[in-house]
């Protein structure tokens, strides 16, 4: 494990350039460039904001703001999972030819996602101002929620990216699961639309706590549920360690399988 941090430190420049490439290279050549990573979730929000009130009795005030605070973190999560899962296939060329710590790739996917999300917080800020909700001191808890999401996403793609090298179906299965997860997470709706006895099952999904956390600090302007958040961070670190070990096992065959 000590090795892991030493290697990561030695290759910090690679991590940095890779994150930059991930952010900038993706949209290179398109007219709007990096802006696409913000236009996309905005358009998504727009669609939900138009369609959803028709489908459900909707009593949430400032619904669009409520939506955007859920959609943007969710967008970070899905981009990380889908990009992360296929990251080794996308970089097959260098994997086969050069040695570098392979974990750099998943880590840079999550990190570039984090940076993207931080920038898109500007959008959240604009919505908060325009809707008249404003800001509160609870925003200071944002880093805790970010850490929780970072750990969970990284743990997930350590496994999915490695498995995808061996079984290419993983990508499609995971994309489906993500879609399912979207509806199991209170992004379009509020958790209290469910009976209380269901709510605790929904809370098994760590993303529920994470999304609720964002809502608490931005939208409801209350204390986020720190007990749950720290439980996620704590168990997330253990999970991350296990996933990393699995990754290390599978990693040895990458160059041959790709």
């Amino acid at each position: 494990m000590k090795n892991f941090f030493v290697e990561l430190y030695n290759y910090r420049e690679l991590l940095k350039t890779n994150v930059k490439k991930e952010i900038r290279g993706k949209y290179k050549g398109s007219f709007l460039g990096v802006l696409w990573s913000f236009v996309n979730p905005l358009l998504m929000t727009l669609i939900y904001a138009i369609v959803f009130p028709f489908l459900l009795r909707n009593t949430t005030p400032h619904y669009t703001t409520y939506l955007i605070i859920g959609v943007l973190p969710w967008n970070w999560f899905t981009t990380v999972i889908s990009q992360g899962t296929s990251t080794f296939l996308a970089n097959a060329g260098i994997i086969k030819k050069v040695y570098f710590p392979r974990e750099i790739l998943p880590i840079s996917v999550v990190t570039s996602g984090l940076i993207n999300f931080l920038i898109s917080c500007i959008i959240i800020a604009i919505f908060l101002i325009c809707s008249g909700i404003g800001f509160s001191q609870y925003i200071l808890f944002l880093p805790i929620i970010l850490i929780a999401q970072y750990i969970i996403s990284l743990a997930a793609i350590f496994v999915t990216s490695a498995v995808n090298v061996y079984i290419r179906d993983a990508e499609y299965i995971i994309n489906f699961l993500i879609q399912m997860l979207f509806y199991a997470t209170p992004i379009l709706y509020t958790l209290d639309m469910f009976p209380v006895r269901f709510q605790k099952y929904l809370l098994l999904n760590p993303l529920v706590t994470i999304i609720n956390g964002y809502r608490d600090i931005f939208y409801y302007q209350t204390m986020p549920n720190l007990k749950l958040l720290f439980t996620i961070i704590g168990s997330g670190i253990i999970l991350l360690y296990i996933c990393y070990k699995i990754f290390k096992k599978l990693e040895k065959g990458f160059a041959e399988e790709l």
Binding site: E13, K96, V98, Y99, F100, I167, G253
Partner: protein
């Protein structure tokens, strides 16, 4: 004991590498499930119990016919692939030139790619900054360094890639059959640079079929045949023997 160990740049201990040969490799779940009972693969043993010690500062050539396992051995040393059995211990910063320009990003400029490529070799920003001028000068790309790499001719591409790799200044340099880069002028330059590295106490391992170059550069040659070390010794002797059999 420790001291003896430290003199080795690379130690290969009883390494065996077997590849699976797939008749029809299953990559999807369906194929795996449907053909689970089909005999899918054969073992193909590429290296059989190789034992080698390469000392610091040595310049070693790996020679042998196609399919003798030279490149596989080199890939094992770089840790791109891992041995089926045995162990490889390397001592010092290692750079491999298995293929030039692997990891170049087409849309980025030559300069940006220098940073990216050197970062893959494990350099920090500061170290790259310090070498940047050398790299650009060595590549002779001039003003093209700020154009996207996709606009380069293959010669320019190779020159840039070689310049980055050769200027990384690793302790151990692994090179796979890439001495033929660019025109005569550039080849001579590369050759001179390799000689310079050799004299500066770096460990260099070259896989090559150009025996002439090998003779001039290396003081030790290892002849691999069918995954085993056939002969290991002074370059001239090994090449003479090799030519008797394969010439």
């Amino acid at each position: 004991m420790k001291k003896v160990e430290d003199k080795n740049a690379i130690k290969v201990k009883n390494v065996t590498k077997a590849f699976k040969l797939f008749y029809d490799k299953p990559t999807t779940l369906k194929e795996r499930l449907v053909f689970w009972n089909k005999k899918k693969s054969d073992e193909h043993v590429v290296l059989k119990g190789i034992d080698l010690e390469i000392k610091k500062g040595e310049t070693v050539a790996l020679i042998g016919t196609n399919g003798s396992g030279k490149s596989t051995l080199l890939k094992l040393m770089t840790k791109i692939i891992y041995p089926t059995q045995g162990k490889i211990i390397t001592n010092g910063k290692l750079t491999s030139l298995l293929e030039l320009g692997a990891g170049f990003h087409q849309d980025f400029t030559g300069r940006e790619n220098i940073y990216f490529n050197a970062a893959i070799f494990g350099l920090t920003k500061k170290e790259i900054d310090a070498r940047l001028d050398d790299i650009i000068e060595f590549s002779e790309l001039g003003e093209f360094i700020d154009s996207p790499v996709r606009t380069y001719s293959s010669g320019m591409y190779m020159r840039l890639a070689f310049s980055v790799a050769i200027n990384v200044e690793a302790d151990i340099l692994l090179i796979d059959e890439i001495l033929a880069v660019g025109d005569q002028h550039f080849q001579d330059k590369c050759f001179a640079k390799l000689k310079e590295l050799k004299d500066s106490d770096k460990t260099i391992i070259i896989v090559s079929h150009s025996l002439g170059a090998v003779k001039m550069l290396c003081n030790r040659a290892i002849w691999l045949f069918n995954g085993e070390v056939q002969l290991d010794g002074k370059t001239e002797d090994v090449i003479d023997e090799y030519l008797k059999v394969c010439g």
